[in-house]
């Protein structure tokens, strides 16, 4: 006889870096329903953004997330710049791409490491994080912070990357890619890793679209959706190529991230090579008026900021929709029908970032 049980997964769980609870309704070992319970780290950031003025908000917005912080400030700056009709200097657009793609590499290495840890491959976890350290050192050298870079500002960027540092970045990127070529075959080709990932948490293409999945989760299901194709910043000049997979399982999501590591490294190289000389920023005067929905492609998917200004220094309304929030309905769909032992792997493969989700 089948009995129904409810198992709380989280908020504290070894595989979860951040607190989220999944209430799993079980029939024996099989999940028939999953419900999320969030709110453990809700900080009321949208409210405080209305209290601070719009320049202070750049620093506030950068601290929404501790992993993809640069992209948050980049998106906010692009939103305000479009409200105030500021055109950013070319060199600043290229520098933004360099830092954003470095962020994407470090974020993907982080989540691949965590995924390796979730399916019990600790050696791989440590090797991937060791490589991530190289990227973090590049960021500290160029921007002054390991994760919170603080270089993006309204109208451009604050720091330049001088030629000597550009050579250093290229050298370190080559070194990181050489080390990755040792490690990644173990993640992609290994028999036991495949046993753990292939066919787990399948999300079909039509379901992914209907549930509003974004980022690597959508691209692994075969949806060609990447906002970098809309050519914000300097992506239009860098012939960017999107990575897609069709299987829609955890293995495909891992593959998308692995391939994006290489496309991101390639984008950094191209951006450094084609970067024009020129000023770093233009002064921004006046106060923002009107409303905009600013969008950008983050490591986890598309990030939306709704910004409404009312011609004063304070914003009327600032709203954040992070990619993890959009991926949660897809996660619930993936969990339904899977085994309890697969829940950690599925949960980590959507790359959950709960602190940004709850703001």
């Amino acid at each position: 006889m089948i009995r129904r049980n409810t198992i709380p997964f989280g908020p504290q769980h070894p595989v979860l870096p951040e607190p989220i609870q999944l209430r799993l309704v079980m029939e024996d070992e099989k999940i028939v329903e999953a419900l999320p319970a969030v709110g453990y780290v809700h900080r009321g950031l949208e409210k405080i953004a209305e209290k601070k003025d719009y320049i202070q908000d750049v620093y506030l917005v950068e601290r929404i997330c501790g992993i993809c912080s640069f992209m948050h400030s980049q998106n906010y700056c692009q939103g305000i710049e479009s409200l105030m009709n500021v055109s950013v200097p070319d060199r600043a657009r290229y520098l933004r791409v360099v830092w954003a793609e470095l962020h994407r590499i470090h974020s993907h290495l982080l989540i691949l490491g965590l995924a390796a840890d979730a399916f019990g491959f600790e050696n791989l976890f440590m090797r991937l994080w060791q490589i991530r350290e190289i990227i973090l050192d590049i960021m500290e050298k160029t921007a002054g912070g390991r994760v919170i870079l603080g270089v993006c500002t309204l109208g451009g960027v604050k720091r330049d990357i001088p030629p000597a540092l550009q050579d250093e970045i290229l050298r370190q990127l080559d070194e990181a890619e050489r080390q990755l070529s040792d490690v990644l075959p173990a993640l992609v080709n290994d028999y036991s890793v495949k046993q753990r990932l292939v066919g787990i948490g399948v999300l079909p293409k039509d379901k992914a679209y209907e549930l509003g999945a974004v980022g690597p989760v959508a691209r692994a299901s075969g949806l060609a959706m990447d906002l970098r194709e809309t050519c914000y910043a300097a992506y239009g000049d860098l012939d960017f190529k999107m990575v897609t997979e069709t299987a829609g399982d955890c293995y495909a999501r891992t593959l998308v991230r692995v391939k994006e590591l290489h496309t991101s490294a390639e984008l950094v190289r191209k951006a450094l090579k084609r970067m024009p000389e020129g000023p770093l920023s233009v002064p921004v005067k006046g106060n923002p008026t009107g409303e905009v929905l600013a969008r950008i492609e983050q490591p986890r998917g598309e990030l939306n900021f709704y910004i409404k200004g009312n011609a004063t220094r304070n914003l009327e309304r600032f709203r954040v929709r992070t990619p993890t929030f959009a991926n949660l309905p897809a996660l619930l769909h993936m969990l339904t029908g899977c085994q309890l032992a697969d829940v950690p792997v599925i949960a980590i493969c959507i790359d959950p970032c709960i602190s940004c989700t709850e703001r």
Partner: protein
């Protein structure tokens, strides 16, 4: 898989990749945002930094002349360094160490 086994054996014989932290410290990189310091002789106590600080970590008063930073509220963003008219607030590398 072969690569990984090779690397395991090479790691067995080589030195650890980590540092023995409290005894051996890494020098902070040049230009890294570590902590805020002030050259108090140059300060004119205008309060521009206090008004701009996003985390309200600064307290400046004209009479009596005082400038104080709450290091636990400071987010080391560097906004005060930019706006200071006398350029007397400086960003130094190396993190803040609380007094014992």
């Amino acid at each position: 898989m072969i690569n990984l086994i090779q690397s395991i054996f090479s790691k067995l014989s080589s030195r650890p990749d980590t540092r023995r932290y409290p005894f051996k410290k890494r020098e902070p990189m040049e230009g890294s945002r570590g902590h805020i310091d002030i050259e108090i002789d140059k300060c004119i106590f205008c309060g521009a930094c206090q008004k701009r600080c996003p985390s309200n970590a600064l307290t400046v008063s004209r009479d009596p002349k005082s400038w104080s930073l709450n290091p636990y509220a400071c987010i080391v963003c560097g906004y005060c360094v930019e706006v200071c008219p006398k350029k007397c607030i400086v960003m130094n590398a190396g993190h803040f160490t609380p007094p014992a």
